[in-house]
Symmetry: C2
Subunit: 347 residues, 2 copies
């Protein structure tokens, strides 16, 4: 756990889970998978997947409006199901309504929830309502999976090929605009959980994790969990989504920061054994899924990326802990990121 | 739905669910059961049960301290599973931590969660953490059940016998002391979900609902859902838990108010066909469960209770809507309750 505990959030979670006991029915341990994987019947060939995610800080910071809060509580939870290759059965939604939230706003929130459910062909199964100071929306998504296809964050090996289900950077470009530059850029952030893709991935991948907290967070966590490293391909800039790339160039921030921030694009990052790569690609294409190659798994637990015409080993612990170490102050966080950028240029 | 819509909370929930679509996999509709009942496999003889409940207002009002918030998020959710006769697989917990919550307090909260899990022989399967203004704890409990034993709130018939799994009034006595009289009375409120009892009940009952929102709320909701009424037995005062009864007498509030307030004791109320009553009692006693007879189901949708030496038809809609109609003002709510009491005496 020492490796995991270098990250403040991991350490906090480990402190909490050390106070609890692990269920004998649960296949995964803490950190090991995006959704929980539960046995429920000895004779059964199916597993239950379940995951919970609250939308709270994003609303308070002004990152999500009412519609997007509703959309995200569905898609963020379903994305965790996608990362274990699960088939969603539905979602439960608990809402804390502020006193001043009128019916029009409530309608917008529920329009977001309903639109996301329709887009993912799933349903709200139930929920709870309470009054509170701020709007908070908590979702719990439920799914089922085959016992013989357990996909977690753990299992990748040096030589495996690192893929993404789609282009990168949209989450951080959106957050940068919404919280920092406030240009009202039309970045159209409305992520769709990669459920269809997750089912193909689960047939071939050795490990998988969604990018809900951004690319570097995801790679760093996979590195710590598997005691391996990653080498990101030379032309990674080309994998950044077009509008996000143009936005970064317009506001003058380095492209790598779109991978470093902690507001993700909700793609899946996963690793495929080289010998199964061709078969995987064929299966993916058959369902209209075009995986993007990001690099490969290496033996040394470092994250190497080509930047400023050299290969750089990123200090992803520093980058991941930065927001906490800036006490959540966005200006300070952004300044520190720029400081890291100038260090990377000089090195 | 007209009957249900006389209750403000039902109306609000119906407004929300009208914005959503119903899953074809879900057996129950809105309001029809304490936990959701989900088919997940056409060939399977098992059902998934799932329910979510946030502890928010109780913390903010000062009703629950950190330990009790942790305890209640587990037991309240498991109580909903108990009411459908489910076998719990575990619970997910999402916590909103206020910035000023130190590790000692967090430890106390998790001690409450862990103690309740141990008491109910279940486990925390996963969760989420966020920072926010106030402590809010959301649980989602998961269970499984047999397909041929579907127990909901709907199905009771005139002539059925009304039972409770245990003595009444503890929730409201506790709330009265904690929020109103503040005498620090040792009422020892730490409800245990009636899981063992729920399994027996599910073999015999025609309808079941937990008393999480108090006795009158539960009876009123069952009345509206089933278009029947209830006649409560003459000596209902004897069914009020000893400490709660003594407390009410000490602070000088009428005993019926321990059934009217909306902070429940988390017992199960359920209805048994008269012809199966003997067999039910035998099965219950075998597992050390001693059901309390409360009365019977009647044809007319009214709630009759013996009070002040006469039989009174309670205006449970007025009582249920009172807290909302007092805008959550406790003093006003209490005054209005006393006004109802003097009306009942005069009638």
């Amino acid at each position: 756990m020492q490796q995991l505990n270098q990250i403040l959030e991991n350490r906090f979670i480990n402190n909490l889970t050390s106070l609890l006991e692990h269920s004998p029915l649960q296949i995964n341990s803490t950190h090991q998978s995006d959704a929980e994987i539960i046995r429920f019947n000895g004779n059964n060939d199916q597993l239950i997947n379940i995951t919970t995610d609250s939308i709270c800080e994003e609303i308070k910071a002004g990152l999500y409006d009412d519609f997007l809060a509703g959309w995200m509580v569905v898609s963020a939870n379903l994305s965790d199901l996608a990362a274990v290759g699960s088939n969603p059965l539905g979602i439960l939604i608990s809402v804390i309504f502020p006193e001043n939230m009128n019916y029009k706003r409530i309608g917008t929130l529920y329009n977001g929830i309903n639109s996301a459910c329709k887009r993912h062909s799933t349903y709200v199964l139930g929920g709870d309502i309470n009054k509170g100071d701020n709007l908070i929306v908590t979702g719990t998504a439920l799914g089922v999976n085959n016992y013989n296809k357990i996909l977690t964050r753990v299992g990748c090996k040096p030589g495996n090929i690192l893929y993404s289900t789609g282009q990168l950077g949209k989450g951080n470009a959106f957050a940068l605009d919404k919280l920092f530059f406030r240009k009202g850029a039309a970045l159209n952030y409305k992520p769709v959980a990669r459920l269809k893709e997750g089912k193909v991935v689960s047939q071939f991948a050795t490990a998988c994790m969604d990018t809900s907290d951004g690319i570097f967070t995801t790679l760093d966590q996979l590195m710590r969990l598997n005691n391996i490293g990653f080498e990101i391909c030379n032309n990674w800039e080309l994998l950044i989504e077009k509008n996000s790339r143009e936005y970064a160039q317009k506001v003058g921030i380095p492209l790598w920061m779109l991978l470093a921030g902690q507001h993700g694009e909700f793609e899946l990052l996963f690793t495929i054994p080289e010998e199964r790569e061709k078969q995987f690609i064929n299966s993916a294409i058959q369902v209209g899924f075009f995986p993007l190659k990001l690099g490969r798994v290496i033996k040394t637990p470092i994250i190497n990326i080509s930047l400023y015409d050299k290969m750089i080993s990123l200090d992803t612990a520093r980058i991941r802990n930065l927001f906490d170490n800036c006490d959540g102050n966005l200006e300070k966080y952004f300044d520190e990121m720029l400081k890291i950028d100038s260090e990377l240029k000089q090195n």
